[in-house]
Symmetry: C2
Subunit: 253 residues, 2 copies
DNA sequence: CGAATAATTGATCGGTATCAAGCTACGTGG
DNA sequence: CCACGTAGCTTGATACCGATCAATTATTCG
C-alpha cells in the first residue's frame, strides 16, 4: 500500500483544523507559544474515514502517515496464525498511532466504530519535529502516557479475574467519556467502543465469558445492557469496587 | 525520600563514564554529532548500588533521578493491597527508568540482581534535554521501544499458556544476553535475572506452575536447571517453538 | 420479513490455582 | 568442616474458574 492509494481515501482536501472537534487536544496543532505560531497555518494534513471493522493497517504492512483520531475509536491488535488475538490498545479521539511511519506496523489497526483520522506524512512529521521544538516533547509525554496505560493493562491481564477485567474496561471507558456521557434520570448511559468479541480480545477472555460476566454485573444491579453496545451504569461506586482496584493508588506497606 | 538520602548511597563521586561498561549504549552519553560534543565532558551523574531484593523506589514515592542501568537487572512491579502483584517490566543494562523524576513513581522498582545505576537529577535532565537536541529524540525512540515491548507482553499475558509464557521469558532473556552468554560444548548456559516467585509475577502465574513448567521443559530435553538461577539451553530451536510464536512475524491473511 | 451474524445461555472439560508436604541450597555458627 | 536452620524450590492432591462445545435467542441488514 503506498501513498497514492490513501490519496483516494482522503475525503477532505481542505485543511479544516478550525472545525476539528479535537482541535484543542490535537498533537499536530501549532503551539501558541511556538516560534512559528501564526506565521504558518496548519498544513499538510490528510483526513480519512473508515467504517467499523475496516482495517486501517495490517500487521507487517506500511502506513505512510502518523495519525491522530478526530472521531471514533480504533483497536491495536496482535495476532497469531493459530487464531489467537489480543487487543493491546484502544485508541480514542486525540490519540496518536503510527508515530514512526517509516517502519512497518507491528499491529493491525482496525476501526471499531465509524472512524475519522487526521494524518501527517512522514516528510511533514519530520519537518515539524525539526522546526517545532515543543512537538517532540509533547509526543514523548503522550507516549509515556501510553506506556503507563499499557503497563497498567498488563496487571489486568496477568492478575485480575474475568469479572474484574470486565469491570475495569467499562470503568475506564466511563472515565474516558465522562465529559460527554449522557445522564439519564438515575443512571449513566454510555456506548462501548468495542463489540463483544473485541472486548474478549481486549480482556484476554472468550466472548462467552464476557457475556456471562455482563450477566453478573446486571444481576448485581450495577448496570443494564440496553443493546450490544449501549449500557446504563446504575451504580458507579459498585462498578469501581468490582474492578478490584485499591481505593486510592497510594503506597502500600 | 529526598536527594540528601541518595547522596549518601552514591558510591562513585567521580564521573567514570569512560570506564562504564554501558558507555556505548548509554542514553546520557554526549552525542559525537551534537553541538556540545567535546566541549562539555559528561557531568552531573550519580552512581548507586543496590543488592538483590532491595527496592530502588516504592510505588507512590518520589525518586529524584532519571536513571540508566550500568549493570544488573531490576523489576517494575504493580501491586494491589490484597497481595497480588505483577511485574510489568524487567530492566536490563542500558535501560532507562523514571524518565520524569518530578512525578511520583507508579511502580515499585526493585533490584533483582546486584544492581548499579547511573542517575541524573531532574535539573540536569532538563538542562540536557534543552541543550542537546538529539537527546529527546533518543529518549522518545527508547520509550517507543519500551511501549512495543509492553504491548508484546500483553499478548503473552492475555493469550498464552503457562508453558508458552515461560518459554517466551527464557527465550527473551537468551536473546537479550546473546552477546555475552556462555557457550558450553553443546548447550547455552545463562543466568536468569529473576527468582522463581518473580518469574511467576512476571508471567501472571504462581511459583508452583512455573516450577511444573520448568519440569516440562526439562522432560522435553529443551533445557536443564543447574541451580535456581542458572540454566543450560540444549535446544534453542525447540525453545523457540515452545514460545508459541509464529515462525516469522510477517503478515497473516 | 427473512437470512446471516452476533450475543446469550447451558453442560462439560481442562488448565492453573490452591493447599499441603517434602526437598534442596545456602548461610550461620559451633 | 560439619550440624543446623531457613528460605526458596519442587512435587503431589484437589478445587475452581474460564474454555470449549453446543444450542438458542437477539439483532442487524438486505
Amino acid at each position: 500500500m503506498d501513498e497514492q492509494i490513501y490519496q483516494k481515501i482522503a475525503r477532505n482536501t481542505a485543511d479544516d483544523c478550525i472545525t476539528c472537534p479535537e482541535e484543542r487536544h490535537c498533537l499536530w496543532r501549532t503551539d501558541p507559544l511556538s516560534d512559528s505560531a501564526g506565521t504558518e497555518p496548519a498544513t499538510g494534513f490528510k483526513h480519512m474515514r473508515f467504517t467499523p471493522g475496516q482495517a486501517v493497517v495490517m500487521a507487517g504492512y506500511h502506513f505512510p502517515y502518523a495519525a491522530t483520531i478526530r472521531a471514533g475509536t480504533a483497536s491495536l491488535t496482535r495476532s497469531l496464525s493459530d487464531g489467537r488475538s489480543q487487543i493491546v490498545g484502544v485508541l480514542y479521539p486525540s490519540d496518536i498511532f503510527n508515530s514512526r511511519p517509516a517502519l512497518a506496523s507491528k499491529y493491525t489497526i482496525t476501526a471499531t466504530t465509524p472512524l475519522e483520522l487526521c494524518c501527517l506524512s512522514e516528510a511533514s512529521l519530520q519537518h515539524r519535529l525539526e522546526t517545532e521544538k515543543a512537538l517532540s516533547r509533547r509526543l514523548l509525554e503522550r507516549k509515556l502516557h501510553d506506556l503507563q496505560e499499557a503497563r497498567d493493562w498488563m496487571f489486568v491481564l496477568g492478575r485480575k479475574t474475568a469479572l474484574e477485567r470486565l469491570a475495569s474496561m467499562i470503568y475506564t471507558v466511563a472515565e474516558r467519556y465522562s465529559h460527554r456521557r449522557q445522564r439519564s434520570p438515575v443512571g449513566v448511559e454510555l456506548s462501548l467502543p468495542l463489540a463483544r468479541h473485541e472486548i474478549a480480545d481486549y480482556l484476554g477472555l472468550t466472548p462467552e465469558t464476557v457475556s456471562r460476566n455482563f450477566a453478573r454485573l446486571r444481576a448485581a444491579g450495577i448496570l443494564s445492557t440496553n443493546s450490544a453496545r449501549l449500557i446504563t451504569i446504575w451504580n458507579m461506586r459498585a462498578l469501581m469496587e468490582a474492578t478490584g482496584n485499591d481505593e486510592d493508588g497510594g503506597p502500600i506497606f
